[in-house]
Symmetry: C2
Subunit: 379 residues, 2 copies
């Protein structure tokens, strides 16, 4: 195997593929990165068996040559050192070569690295997904779907299914739902189902979506999502991101969402966020970082935080509108801040159904985003 490649393209691909490589894998060859050269270009592969990522650098695209002097072949390199080596090379181009004894040479300017390669035949074959269950959506929209839901997955393994994001396609809508049973985040978008077929609803590990979100650049290009029984594949022009799915039934979450509300607050999201943030500064001694919200006269809210040892905070916030019953309620400041950041609209509507029932946060004029938080009992 031999080729000369543009360093900057190689750096980017290596960084993407590294997201799937863990040094703590039980399969030693997976600590390495597979490099395959063909006449079409260079393919890098990394995997921790949960997530597998392939990144492709074409020999030439849009008249720009990225790879030259290709002699096809493949090798597996220790991933621990490879990213630093590539990043610190002195020249704009890099020559990578492996001989029959799997000795790999990386040359750039007057720098020459000799690395011991591993047998590419030992590297597990990535499953080829055969499915017609696929759909496309713009990359920036997918990134939003992930960003607005994935923070709410459970970090505890007591109910493994809750560590994933529930992805459903029904009635011409695609929906992402995440809950850790103390809060819930959901985002819907209208999406034409491919040829009218229903797609299976799946649960994608939160970690996979977080890594995918890091790799994808904001762009209006489309990404193809394909689903099988136990895997999901995200594919762009040069990226192939495969994740296992979580086994088991995702709980029915729609019944959690209150259908009527007793107090509705319309308010500037940023002002509410900053007030809750400040109130929480002195609520950190409590394990749950709990703040209290009380409706006052003339559309005012009082938000308070309290640590008897240290002191307390009182925040007064003017809402645009407060409608319905008076309310005293306590909740996790962190959950509220996460939800407000995810909603990402200037004006939000917070719908309460009494101090003991979950409440909803959503944009004033948009039903596609919904955040739900369970209050905290305080006496």
């Amino acid at each position: 195997m031999k080729f000369i490649i543009q360093r900057d393209q190689l750096i980017e691909s290596v960084q993407n593929v590294m997201k799937a490589i863990s040094s703590r894998t039980t399969i030693p060859i997976l600590t390495g990165m597979k490099i395959e050269a063909s006449e079409e270009g260079i393919k890098l592969t990394g995997s921790d068996s949960d997530i597998s990522i392939e990144s492709f650098i074409p020999q030439e695209e849009d008249g720009i040559v990225y790879v030259e002097h290709i002699e096809p072949g493949s090798i597996v390199l220790q991933a621990k050192y490879f990213p630093d080596i590539v990043r610190k090379l002195p020249q704009k181009t890099v020559e990578i070569e492996s001989d029959n004894n799997r000795n790999v040479t990386i040359r750039s300017g007057n720098a020459e690295f000799h690395l011991n390669g591993q047998d590419p035949e030992e590297y597990p074959q990535l499953p080829q997904l055969h499915t017609e269950d696929s759909f496309e959506l713009p990359i920036d929209l997918l990134k939003n779907l992930i960003r607005q839901t994935v923070f709410a997955v459970s970090t505890s393994e007591t109910r493994p299914i809750l560590t994933g994001v529930h992805v459903k396609m029904e009635d011409g809508e695609l929906e992402f739902i995440a809950t850790d049973s103390h809060r819930l985040a959901s985002r819907k978008i209208p999406l034409e189902q491919p040829e009218g077929k229903a797609l299976p609803s799946v649960v994608i590990p939160g970690k996979s979506l977080t890594e995918l979100n890091k790799i994808l650049d904001d762009s209006e290009d489309t990404i193809e999502v394909s689903v099988t029984e136990n895997q999901v594949l995200f594919r762009t022009k040069h990226l192939y991101f495969l994740s296992r799915l979580l086994d088991g039934n995702y709980p029915e979450t729609s019944r959690l969402i209150p259908e009527q509300s007793k107090t509705i607050v319309k308010i500037d999201a940023k002002e509410l966020l900053q007030s809750v943030d400040r109130a929480s500064l002195l609520a950190k001694e409590n394990r749950n970082n709990v703040v209290r919200l009380i409706t006052k006269e003339n559309n005012h809210l009082e938000i308070t935080g309290n640590s008897p040892e240290v002191g307390n905070v009182v925040e007064e916030v003017l809402a645009s509108d407060v409608d319905g019953e008076d309310l005293k309620i306590s909740f996790s400041a962190k959950y509220m801040m996460d939800a407000l950041k995810a909603v990402d609209y200037d004006q939000v509507k917070v719908e309460f159904t009494g101090a003991m029932r979950p409440f909803l946060i959503r944009p004033v004029d948009d039903d596609q985003i919904l955040q739900l938080i369970l209050p905290v009992r305080t006496y």
Copy 2:
């Protein structure tokens, strides 16, 4: 006590003073920050008994009013929450007030914090330095003196005196010296001695100088340095930085510096730095991160790193000049990179006296900076 103060000035002062406050102190009141209001302005104090920092915000300066409505008094506040509170306040001004029961109220816009203050009488009095042993130098020059030496102090407590920087004033020169016994960094500047008096030579803890360097902004303003038997004070217009000195005799380091050399290499510092950096990538398995340098024909150097398990690196660097005996020498890549960064000149001169003797790195045309490294024995 009561006053209204510009938030941004307060944030900066609080951040500076926090550098002296540790949550792990054995004296509980020192986990707090002392605030003193007088007609002249506001003084903040923090201390961990090794370092004490006072920052002063004048009531008014250059026609700009920083503090208004001052009612003199003082209080000690828990430092753990104070910086975050101040940083997140909603308005440009902050009102701080304490009553006779040491209840402190911090108000800004619609945010109101109530904190339990502590008795300022319990806060230890900072020693007032009475000394005529002082001198002045520009702040940016002091920052350079620190930056070019402090990294070489010892991090081990086996010889505590080596955790400090030796500061000497002799023959019209001020010199900073640091060594961990494997390497040495020194920087001299010409400095008129105050009224011809010799100043005592002292050893300042490396940690104190590192914190001081973080607080000082690059500036051509001068800073006053005063020395007593066991303390050193750095004073600018609004900052008072006091550090204890290290007890004991600093070793005589001048005899470490070879007086003649057998091989002299003149070379571009950045090129050498980058080559050593790359060679070290595959030398990390060795505890000491050792690379090897060999002189070649026609002013070429070969720099190599080797990890038998992983592979090796060969770097070829063209020096501007190589004069004297051929050489093979091994050294810590980290020490070499630290030294080259500290020298901070384009062209450096590296003077070797054989493979077993310490070697020197300094700028080609400047004798005020000197870096010394002990080679590593490899067979």
